[in-house]
Symmetry: C2
Subunit: 247 residues, 2 copies
């Protein structure tokens, strides 16, 4: 396997699933981040080492395409590839594969390095990319963005408070929790009878411990939902999700 | 290993840890339940089979003693034993062990079988205990109960709404979430500088999707906290937690 690819096995367990027994979207994101962190560890790119360079990785966008989500007890393979990067952006791909190799889900993410000193996007340090042996490129693939529609009049809003246990070891809200907030604003009956097939999500502003956030959702089509997570008037996250009805 | 014992390896990963990098109490409970479910599966006691007998397992009490919680990346062993049972109650033990066998945490739980028809405690069906080869006993060990103190005047209360993703495949709130609600009511600074050493918890009434619950916490001693999770005036969960200061 080339240095920029990495995979590992995983067993889906009960606390990773919803009440239909399927892996949740939040846990899919957790597993994609896990396999990339494990790749970093294998390449001796520990979080401590990256911190020592004055930066931390932050995701700005994901694009997920989901064929079907595995069930409790299923053995799957998590796979990732640090596919391409330029001065400021890194493009990473992710796969969730069944035991027989069937593609269950595919993800793409755009990551940047944030400077601890300036809290702004920094040039990606050469040292954090070198171990992947990925060649730099001029132009990265562009991920499809969520729609920007003003559906406030028809939207449903639910409030959430950021909890202590939403914060991970980096001191940031684990991005997977945005999925809990976004999807929990939909009726349980919808979530039980529909499966997400495509997710476009953009992270615009960071939410912090103790923040009150509002999760707004509206239908822009019969099987498309628009999601916004806001802190007051500030948009933290914007997402568009396509769904299919499950019999 | 006797039929009533079961163990399996586990690696602690980032989304199982809090911002200090240690396994959370909620995840400790998830892992203890996981190893007991995996034991059941190994003995062909699938949830479907147990359901077919008209009952489901429900925990009524846990007693946890914690030496230290493992950190992200640690390899641990989960172990359980279906130690004893009588007509109505089953007593189960749990261990979390370090790679060298050091005991990190020890748990005891009292479980009952609930009838789907009457929603009441039912005689434990012989068929669900037989595969463990555990002999029935007259008297089970008693777990220490949480204190029943009226500390309402000094307590802090935080509201939580039960979310869709708090519900597991059995249609019940995953018990681990009570720990998130109970502990999140404590200040982050306390959680960062203290480690739970002993937990006594009793589950009295079930909370359901959409319920508004209140998590109340008060100090009954410098390093002891009293917790109540309520639905209106009804107590859902009562717990006492002992803490030690971490330098």
């Amino acid at each position: 396997m080339p240095k920029n690819e990495f995979s590992e096995p995983h067993r889906v367990v009960y606390y990773e699933a919803d009440d239909t027994g399927h892996l949740t979207l939040a846990m899919l994101i957790n597993l994609f981040v896990l396999v990339s962190e494990d790749q970093n560890t294998a390449l001796e790119l520990s979080p401590e080492y990256i911190h020592s360079l004055g930066v931390g990785w932050v995701v700005t966008q994901y694009h997920l395409q989901i064929n079907r989500l595995p069930r409790i007890g299923d053995h799957v393979t998590l796979k990732t590839r640090a596919t391409a990067f330029n001065k400021y952006f890194a493009y990473r791909e992710y796969w969730l594969l069944a035991e027989d190799g069937e593609q269950l889900a595919y993800g793409e993410g755009i990551w940047v390095t944030m400077s601890y000193a300036t809290r702004k996007i920094a040039t990606i340090p050469a040292a954090v990319m070198a171990p992947y042996e990925t060649a730099p490129v001029k132009r990265l693939p562009r991920l499809p963005r969520p729609e920007r529609l003003d559906l406030a009049a028809t939207s449903v809003a639910k409030p959430y408070t950021v909890r202590y246990f939403d914060i991970d070891e980096n001191g940031h809200v684990n991005n997977a929790h945005y999925f809990d907030w976004m999807l929990d604003a939909l009726p349980a009956e919808w979530l039980r009878t529909h499966q997400a097939t495509e997710v476009r999500i953009r992270f615009e502003n960071e939410v912090k411990y103790g923040h009150q956030v509002t999760s707004e959702v509206a239908h822009s089509a019969a099987t498309t939902t628009q999601h916004t997570v806001k802190i007051g008037d500030t948009t933290a996250v914007l997402a568009t999700i396509d769904w299919q009805h499950e019999a």
